[in-house]
């Protein structure tokens, strides 16, 4: 969850008091707050973490990083929808203490 991923700003709109960009991560488009990067404009690449752009990056580095992250399989996890996140968690059944040794009672 500490990963920040690069994307291209396709469009900038104002949502009430926020500067919001439609940011394209190699095909997946997300709504991203641009308030921390006032210098970023349409067509620029920016590093995004949990819906917030935190720094600018050049196009070449951005595209290389996107390709690397996709190949490493971390892109899907970062951009997962709510349903996908629950599906992933459902796939990981657990009991916090299978041997009962940490049961407070």
């Amino acid at each position: 969850m500490c990963l920040a991923i690069p994307g291209r700003v396709d469009e900038i709109i104002t949502e009430g008091d926020l500067r919001v960009g439609k940011v394209n991560f190699g095909g997946v488009v997300k709504r991203v707050c641009l308030d921390y990067v006032p210098e970023v404009e349409v067509g620029d690449y920016t590093i995004v973490h949990v819906g917030f752009a935190i720094s600018k990056i050049d196009q070449e580095s951005a595209e290389q990083t996107l390709a690397d992250f996709r190949a490493m399989g971390v892109l899907d996890e970062e951009l997962a929808s709510e349903d996908e996140a629950f599906a992933r968690a459902a796939d990981k059944p657990q009991s916090p203490c299978p041997d009962g040794s940490c049961d407070p009672q």
Partner: protein, 380 residues
């Protein structure tokens, strides 16, 4: 895995690994602080490309792993209350509390939602004025600007039904605590690139000076990690201890000023308990006086929490870098990602899960010799 072979055989990767081998004359222990980097090192087998005497120690840098059990239990209690919409990042769903996890709370009828961004939680609060919306704000400095903005917006928009359950931890005090701990063997640090993209690296020179350690700001891709390790080894071999930026395409010395100024307004420094490690002085953030009304711990007075960690779990030793996951007696036996006993097994960025998922069942000695076998290949 195709990517792995390509990376391992890649000209640049080979050249960097060769350079590290040529530089190395003595054993060194280097800690990567960030869980994302641990994941990348193990997944790409970077530790196995290094000389056998270079040991990568996996630090406490997974916010999911170090969130204290008491706070997880509070989250579970709040999420189970009627009228609450409890929002979290997906990573937190399966973190074991004393009795169950958020996923189970949802199964029992709790309204638990996964959001991509804290902004989504603020939107939910605006759309559901008759419900209390709580966001579980965990993370390092990378995530803090997002969480700070969510509270700031809620205040500006007058949303009285939004609150933040805060568990923010900071990297520099953790480095300080590790270096000051008894029996510490870490000799150099790779600082987490994305933390530094927000905070810059002006906090690190005093640490490098005080403990005489090289600190290299490093990215997450395999080549970035090799480069960071190479720079750390070179400094160690030359007896230098400087702060170096090996990630200049994203990180500047000052960091993101706009983010830092909102962080200073919304948060204040506080002592924080790190799961498995204990309390580290001034190692986290809580909401400042002006935003205290938005603190979920104040809004929902949850009392009577009794926590119990599994006595089998050694995640504290893993997080401090004292043992490797495979040295924990429960590793791969009573404790697996399907039945995690500790948080370092539940998060994909936790060291135990990274070792398990990539088949690292070897002892430290076996790992070391596996490392030298691989290094032979690199030389060839």
């Amino acid at each position: 895995m195709k990517y792995l072979t390509e990376f391992r055989n890649g000209e640049v990767a080979q050249r960097m690994a060769r350079e590290i081998h040529q530089l190395t004359t003595r054993p060194w222990k280097i800690m990567e602080v960030c869980g994302g980097q641990t994941h990348s090192i193990i997944k790409n087998g970077i530790d196995q490309m290094l000389p056998a005497c270079i040991e990568m120690v996996h630090g406490p840098g997974c916010p999911v792993c170090v969130t204290p059990l008491e706070l997880i239990d509070k989250a579970l209690a709040i999420a189970a209350q009627p009228g609450v919409i409890f929002c979290s990042f997906g990573d937190m769903l399966r973190v074991p509390g004393t009795n169950g996890d958020l996923f189970q709370v949802k199964g029992r009828g709790g309204d638990v939602r996964v959001v991509y961004s804290p902004l989504d939680a603020v939107d939910l609060a605006a759309k559901n004025p008759d419900r209390q919306v709580v966001f579980f704000g965990v993370g390092f400095e990378t995530t803090a600007p997002a969480n700070a903005m969510s509270v700031h917006l809620a205040k500006r928009r007058g949303l009285r039904n939004f609150s933040l359950l805060v568990s923010h931890v900071l990297v520099p005090p953790a480095i300080e605590a590790i270096m000051s701990s008894q029996g510490n063997q870490v000799q150099a640090f790779l600082a987490a690139g994305h933390v530094c993209s927000v905070m810059g690296y002006w906090e690190y020179p005093p640490l490098a000076e005080k403990f005489k350690i090289p600190i290299v700001v490093t990215g997450f891709e395999p080549l970035d990690l090799l480069d960071g390790i190479r720079r750390a080894v070179r400094q160690l071999e030359e007896g230098r201890h400087e702060v170096e930026n090996a990630y200049p395409r994203v990180v500047t010395f000052e960091g993101n000023r706009a983010a830092q100024s909102l962080l200073a307004e919304v948060f204040e420094v506080t002592d924080r308990a790190w799961r498995g490690i204990g309390v580290i002085p001034k190692s986290g953030w809580r909401l400042s006086e002006a935003y205290r009304d938005f603190d979920a711990e104040e809004r929902f007075q949850i009392s009577g929490i009794r926590t119990a960690e599994s006595p089998l779990c050694h995640s504290g030793d893993v997080l401090r870098g004292a043992i490797k996951p495979a040295q924990c007696p429960a590793f791969g036996k009573q404790c697996t990602p399907r039945h995690p006993l500790g948080a370092t097994m539940v998060s994909s960025e936790g060291a135990c899960a990274a070792y398990y998922n990539y088949g690292r069942f070897l002892s430290a000695e076996e790992l070391a010799s596996a490392g030298s076998a691989t290094s032979g290949e690199v030389h060839a």
